[in-house]
Symmetry: C2
Subunit: 225 residues, 2 copies
DNA sequence: TCCCCTGGGACTGTATTCAGTATTCAGTGG
DNA sequence: CCACTGAATACTGAATACAGTCCCAGGGGA
């Protein structure tokens, strides 16, 4: 007598709601001017307000949403200063991560990362979206090699904040491939096992990313903000 | 004709519950074996389960609580590896923070920090608790000097995680003053304006803290865990 | 005596209801 | 036509009600 399990189909509704909403934000379905209202969302997801509310509050805590003055939540937009803060935080997390990866993982970790870089950068799609996908995979792989869970969750949170702010839409206009070669250099630094050097390289790499970003934002928004 | 604002008298109940619970954890009123049950807490705080639940979930998200297998929440205890992860994350955040403080704040920031260090370390109480209070104030001041909000919130979260795990109770048995002199050195590094050097100094300082910690844990727990 | 298995208690997760507050808008007096 | 008022509206936060899960103890049968 054998039956299939039908249970774990469903995790907590609140979590599912979180995934849905975050997914919408990351996909860009939720624009900066959209208002997310508990009742509306609940109706759309066909659940009650309670789990929706929980999901929204969590997103707010992660800095992705903020409460709109008129009620409801909306995307949290970032000032130029905050974008810089974000990149600096990334530099902190990823710099430490690569340092640990280098010290602990050494040559093997370097080889693994080099493989990831080659795979990601060799993918067929050459549009902006594909590029950012690849970029994310590479950076995340580095943080994974650190073996430190908290750094990884911090990385994910920071990355989501960036994506949700459509940071990457802004970057569309500038030369993306400019920093592509860096990634292999990073992998080599890990392979060499020199922690501080790898950390410096990563700090520089992220700083480059920031410059690219600022440049793109200037192009897009003009001098304002 | 002037009137005073009477607005913000009362923040959200959930937030108040959060403060209460976190406070209890930090003060040590909540032991590692206590179970936090929504209904009980709600009764004690004389509010309904809804805001209590919100507070507990937030604490869980911050890694301070975890759901107990038998129901309810309890303190999240850390394995030795996780303690190390925590310190490494601190090194990431505080290392980057001091680097920024040095680059941006330079001499003035260094002077401000030196003043904080002297004040904190010159306080009357010489017991363990006072020491940790002072230590926290110093480290937090450094992160504040970075001017980066996200680094600061990350610092607070990481610090609370450490405190709630009674990390510091463990350290009671070892020589605390060993790393006291470091703090002035850190302030000097900021004053010198050499970012990378300051960062390295902080990384080393935090690593020292980890060693102290591990030592204390070994004394206290023996080889286990 | 030991093992099922069954019923109840303890909790949580979700839905629903209630209450309060801010915002908008229509109406009215100047 | 403008300024103000008061009511309707649109939301949220909190309380309460409901449903389901998990564990455990206690009883009946082998």
């Amino acid at each position: 007598m054998t039956f299939q399990s039908i249970k774990p189909l469903r995790k907590r509704l609140a979590e599912e709601a979180y995934d849905q909403i975050l997914g919408g934000v990351l996909r860009g379905d939720v624009g900066p001017e959209d208002r997310l209202v508990q009742e509306k969302l609940a109706a759309e997801l066909e659940i009650s307000r309670t789990p929706v509310r929980e999901a929204l509050l969590r997103l707010e805590g992660e800095g992705i949403l903020e409460t709109a003055p008129t009620g409801g939540f909306r995307l949290r937009t970032l000032s130029r200063d905050e974008v810089q803060d974000l990149y600096e935080a990334r530099a902190a997390v990823e710099g430490q991560a690569i340092r640990l990866a280098a010290v602990r993982g050494g040559a093997e970790a370097g080889a693994r990362l080099a493989a990831v870089v080659r795979e990601a950068e060799g993918r067929p799609g050459r549009d902006v979206h594909a590029y950012f996908e690849a970029n994310r995979d590479i950076h995340r792989a580095i943080v994974e090699e650190s073996g430190n869970r908290w750094l990884l969750t911090q990385f994910d949170t920071l990355w989501n904040r960036g994506v949700s702010f459509r940071l990457f839409a802004a970057i569309e206009t500038v030369d993306l491939s400019r920093c592509l070669g860096d990634h292999l250099t990073l992998a080599e630094a890990v392979a060499a096992g020199d922690g501080p050097a790898a950390q410096e390289a990563m700090q520089a790499h992220v700083a480059d990313g920031l410059n690219l970003q600022v440049e793109a934002m200037r192009d897009q928004w003009g001098g304002a903000d």
